[in-house]
Subunit: 457 residues, 2 copies
């Protein structure tokens, strides 16, 4: 059995920045390293080309009657900039205290190594374990997984017969409090472009005769929320399900105070829809958010122009049971109705919509038709986490959207067991990223037990 | 007597683009050319250094009891880009039909040459004319005259004893219809910067708990106009004077149709305050205009961020008797009151305010204390234009702001007689700029008569 921490260091030393072509060698190196490691513990490894960075597909087959788990992860990392803020170089992993520092340590090389080591240990102990395991490690997660849906389509027949997907790429609030993510918000994105005159105009020669497109844009954007913090679009909340009492109760154990959160954000006050704490709002409510706005002169000093065009980049986060297509239609209708008639405008779809994701267990209402192996996996996770970490996991939805989870559900029909292992102090996407070695060790033990239990062992 | 058209060609051949240091030689060349020409007709010429491009000050002195006119103009021109849209090279002047084409032909080298030629012809005919004349030609008009106020301050004592300023740098609607500009709007500019969280946030992880600064900015910007097209700031219109009936009557003779104007702008419809035609609104009403807006992600595709900051660049055009300082205070107060308390914001002054300008004649109400020589100049202009162009000039305010006219009034206490000679077809600031040679010839004759009459001849 290999030393997981030493192997993780080796993994980190390959600078696999997927966003930057300069790091092509690092991508190749990380891929070959992890493919080799999986081969060394008995997996049949394929490197599947995509238009950009290949997917590693490593399989341990077996009897078709055995349960089948797909373990998802990614071998690419975020860019390390700004380099000057790192205490030690990002691709020279080093241990300080009980943490291993380096880019990708926590996102997602640490967790990938956690699961590989758990599998290695388990198979060393039980070489005949009746469990089929497929590692599916992509190289484009940090750039939005552009090749992933097509990959899933191509391998649909091979993958869809698995029982569930297992991954660790979500967060936990404290070392001793694991979270099993059981929901993610959906996403719908578009641009709104408003045009006034055919070209930029002199604001003295023509100011006062036409509606400035920035003004029209501001008027429509301002109309999209009401004073109580809700999205002001007819029908927007029609399909939103009530929050189950168990979800609020679960969240109440989260342990961060509102004041801590407010200070972290650095805002004078929260602005949350009535009846929802900030922690609830971010998980249980949909949003309409302005991601960008632009138009006219933005440089230093002044330019007395009436711009011809102005635009906003807008996105909605969606919760059960909102459909991206329906919400798009409702928001577009509201904008069309409210846009002043003395300007022209265009609504530009961005991205295919990502639906919300909800995974069992809904402990108040477990569906009768929940697949047996999946239900066993959740029970196994609950028991393993409780034993290894000393307390039961929390079952929480997250506010973010992870398109690959929605894609896996959509294309393969599979649910995901998302075992969070990332602490807030891990500095994901930031300088001095690190992974907590105590969490890693406990994560390995939990993963090993979960997989063993799923195997029916 | 020199040939004015040939001299104008020579003037245009010096590419005096004040905005671009690459054209330093062109600036020097244009300056030396025009200084030499003024010297050749008997003027005492000084080239007055400024931090950037010098001012030419050329004087014809005389008995202190003689009337004294300052003729203003500028020898710098706009950049010629985009060069590929010019039919002939911008700095190789050429006559096609009855127009002389070249950058600066109409703005402002043509008019400067018109007045120099008028003066040359007048002094050739009447060498003993009892009139003191000072040409004051700056080289930074196209970049906002940054050195001009300090120049005026330095030369205040010498210049303030003049009787009036005479210039041609404004527009006329048709060849046979001269406009004497008798008012300009003032200007007040500022930036509004709104801050939400301390840094950009992930719109999934945190969307729904705070007010997006773009939303706060849109809400406040949208509040600054009411549906009837007026600025929605308490007190904004308090000091606005009623329009005199003669001004509306004068404007009615302007001769452009609203449909022509709408098509020129390329807008679906006008958006004008009730009771004002577009032509009236742009001259008689103040505005609040958004010159630029920015915040968050503005690139291609999407970035699901809640930006930390958003800003708008805002300007107000002001009419009699609005004060830039008072309007600034009123607008700031409205913004302070309306800005949501869950964001922070900053108001950043831009530029010293430029007050509105009104020059006699107000034909309904000529002030008893109007200086004798100024009154004589206006009467002379009216008669000369009527005789030379075949119909009386229109007395119109313009919507723009010309800071140098306000500076001249503020620093020297002098009013300006603004004899427009630019046609809409002259393509100011655009490719294929040209000057109408018929207007030039008539302008010379009118200028000559005006100056002769002012001299008391």
């Amino acid at each position: 059995m290999f030393d997981p921490v030493e192997k993780l260091k080796e993994f980190i030393r390959h600078p696999s920045v997927s966003a930057d072509p300069k790091f092509k060698d690092g991508m190749v190196g990380a891929r070959e390293f992890v493919a080799g490691l999986l081969g060394s513990i008995g997996f049949k490894v394929a490197v599947v080309p995509t238009p950009l960075h290949p997917v590693i597909l490593a399989e341990r087959g077996g009897d078709p009657s055995w349960p089948h788990v797909i373990i998802y992860g990614h071998y690419d990392v975020q860019p390390a900039d700004p380099l000057n803020l790192w205490e030690t170089p990002p691709f020279e992993p080093v241990i300080r205290g009980n943490r291993l520092y380096g880019r990708g340590a926590a996102d997602n090389k640490g967790e990938v190594m956690t699961h590989i080591a758990a599998v290695a240990r388990l198979l060393e102990r039980r070489p005949d374990l009746p469990l089929r395991i497929t590692f599916m490690l992509e190289g484009e997660e940090e750039i939005g997984s552009p090749s992933f849906p097509a990959f899933l389509d191509t391998y649909r027949d091979r993958l869809k017969k698995a029982d569930f997907v297992f991954l660790s790429d979500t967060g936990i609030p404290r070392e001793d409090q694991v979270v099993i993510t059981c929901g993610l918000r959906g996403l719908m994105l578009f641009d709104l472009e408003v045009t006034g005159a055919r070209g930029d105009l002199h604001s003295g020669q023509h100011g006062g005769v036409l509606r400035n497109p920035i003004q029209a844009l501001a008027e429509v954007c301002a109309s999209l929320h009401s004073a109580d913090g809700r999205v002001n679009v007819p029908g927007f909340y029609d399909d939103v399900l009530d929050v189950e009492p168990w979800e609020r109760a679960e969240l109440a154990k989260f342990g961060q105070s509102e004041e801590q959160y407010r200070e972290f954000l650095g805002i004078p006050a929260f602005h949350t829809a009535k009846g929802f704490s900030p922690f609830e709002a971010v998980r249980f409510l949909p949003t309409l958010e302005f991601n960008g706005i632009g138009g006219g002169y933005q440089g230093a000093g002044t330019k007395t122009v009436i711009p011809s065009k102005a635009f906003a980049k807008i996105s909605c986060r969606l919760v059960p049971n909102q459909s991206p297509d329906k919400i798009r239609a409702l928001v577009y209708a509201a904008i069309r109705e409210r846009m002043p008639k003395d300007v022209t405008f265009r609504l530009v779809d961005q991205h295919h919509g990502t639906p919300y994701v909800v995974v069992p267990p809904d402990r108040s209402n477990t569906p009768a038709d929940q697949p047996v192996v999946l239900a066993r996996a959740f029970r196994a996770a609950d028991a393993a986490v409780t034993e290894v970490f000393g307390q039961a996991p929390l079952y929480l939805r997250e506010g973010g959207s992870v398109p690959i989870i929605a894609d896996i559900k959509r294309v393969l029909g599979l649910d995901s067991v998302m075992l969070g292992l990332c602490l807030p102090e891990d500095n994901l996407h930031a300088p001095n990223e690190s992974y907590h070695l105590g969490v890693m060790e406990k994560g390995m033990r939990a993963s090993e037990r979960i997989l063993e239990t799923v195997a029916g062992g």
